[in-house]
Symmetry: C2
Subunit: 342 residues, 2 copies
Amino acid sequence: MTRIAVVAGDGIGTEVVAEGLKVLDAVLPGVETEHYDLGAARYHRTGEVFPDSVRDELAGHDAILLGAVGDPTVPPGVLERGLLLKLRFDFDQFVNLRPSKLWPGTVGPLANIKPGEIDFVVVREGTEGLYAGAGGGLHRGTPAEIATEESLNTRHGVERVIRDAFTRATARPRRKVTMVHKTNVLTHAGGLWARTFADVAAEFPDVETEYQHVDAASMFLVTNPQRYDVIVTDNLFGDILTDIAAAVTGGIGLAASGCINPTRAYPSMFEPVHGSAPDIAGKGIADPVAAILSVALCLDHLGHPEAAARVEEAVAHELANRAPGQQIVTHEVGDRVAVALS
Amino acid sequence: MTRIAVVAGDGIGTEVVAEGLKVLDAVLPGVETEHYDLGAARYHRTGEVFPDSVRDELAGHDAILLGAVGDPTVPPGVLERGLLLKLRFDFDQFVNLRPSKLWPGTVGPLANIKPGEIDFVVVREGTEGLYAGAGGGLHRGTPAEIATEESLNTRHGVERVIRDAFTRATARPRRKVTMVHKTNVLTHAGGLWARTFADVAAEFPDVETEYQHVDAASMFLVTNPQRYDVIVTDNLFGDILTDIAAAVTGGIGLAASGCINPTRAYPSMFEPVHGSAPDIAGKGIADPVAAILSVALCLDHLGHPEAAARVEEAVAHELANRAPGQQIVTHEVGDRVAVALS
Ligand SMILES: CC(C)[C@H](C(=O)O)[C@@H](O)C(=O)O
Ligand SMILES: CC(C)[C@H](C(=O)O)[C@@H](O)C(=O)O
């Protein structure tokens, strides 16, 4: 029996996760789901962000479905560091997988790019870099104040995520991996990434490789996103690049992600790239497609690739039939996709 | 007598700087220019990157015009850290100013955005952050290898660049400053930036303010670049955001920048955002407009705003008259702009 922990979270998180679960139930009936109340609401009610007991319960599940956490009423970092990043780090989810596709029927912002022409995946490192939380400050609130942030990178962490990217590339028709970093400025971490990339590439002689600085890649994602197949990059660069990728493929409402621990020592977590969007929360107009596609990534990870493919097909059909500018009604999208699968 | 040091550098750097100087001579005859041979060629010939004696000579000039430095034959970081960033840091060029405009006649990659609709300026911090060069490594070449990069931020450095951004905003019709950072993850540096932003904003009650995370801003630069007026951000985020900005305004061939020390204690430096582009070097097909617009920024900084405006007008005319897809001939572009100014 597959057991999935659901952290719907805040704002539109709860709205889109409901549709994701509707679709999950249609395509793979009988999955056991357990809901965990975490996020801004619980924090305000109890002061708790992520009790150890909840962490231990989550650890016992096969996967986690997350909606979105965060709210402007909570100080920046409290839920991000205390809950979302703690999940990624505690469960060693070192592959933050973010596929980017310009789906037929989707109107992207780029002229001259047709649906089908953009189809790449970003393998973002998920457990190191500037997200380690290393940093500090002195003399706060005075003219002498300083603050630091430290990017921590290990051969262990860099090698495993690069190897994952190459492995994924061998299963794709184009077999190309682009590493993105900033080796000309961040020479220490960049050197480690570059040498590790070269070493791992040698194990995959039939995969084409290239390297780009993060500034150049950010530009090419806009001017020539067709060129990418698999991008592998560090945690912060991956955060930025995947939002550009979401922008050029029709917006954050469609971008799914998986925080994956390929060793399966801990559960992997699946979540839309978008946040809790307090501005549209409660209106029932958030696009649940990103959450539904995150369910597809989850199914694939749990060993149900056919179910995952069926969800993707149903989403493709939904998107292909949207009228330009059509107003989204969250639960109707979920209904249509679920019905197509029943 | 105005004295400008010219560091043409490598690749297309020399080609585009020649056109910049042609235009400078047309609009403000009699400026004294002195050429300094720095970059990959000198490094290969002599092993020298940036001798102290040259640094001292450059310090005596009113401004520096730089083309581009770098070549794949030089290890990453050697010229960037040893020359380009050393100039920015030694001469305390804390305002890295990068205007973004979709010029009439320019075809950008975004559908639905018309020339004139994008017009903002990024004030990128130029002397701190991850560019400080703080970092290191251990156990190189072994499975135990680690590497770090440290972002160093001071109230001094953050406050002066934010104040510069607000001052620039008061001189613009929209009077809006957007701060971009990642306060939800980089809580130490982000906290310093956020508190300083609030403090400085209080001095400018008639300037509108907003804050965005760097990932969101990277998305909005693609989906809604019209919303920006002045963006202020840290060194690395500014590097990335300005390349996205260049992409959406027709490419890196048009993007100018100034590394400015507003105190005038040291010379400021003006350079196209693009690099040495070894792939097209020597062919005479690089677009010199970014270098020419950098000359305009230089003229403005040196107290010749009318000359700067005339150069911008001549460039606007050049761009408005380009046929779509027209092949650039570097020296012809310089000739046309210079003739328009004589
Ligand atoms: C909310 C935030 C901590 C998170 C990140 O920076 O990773 C988000 O932007 C994402 O991309 O999942
Ligand atoms: C060449 C490199 C060091 C430089 C930077 O990162 O600042 C460049 O990308 C720029 O934007 O001027």
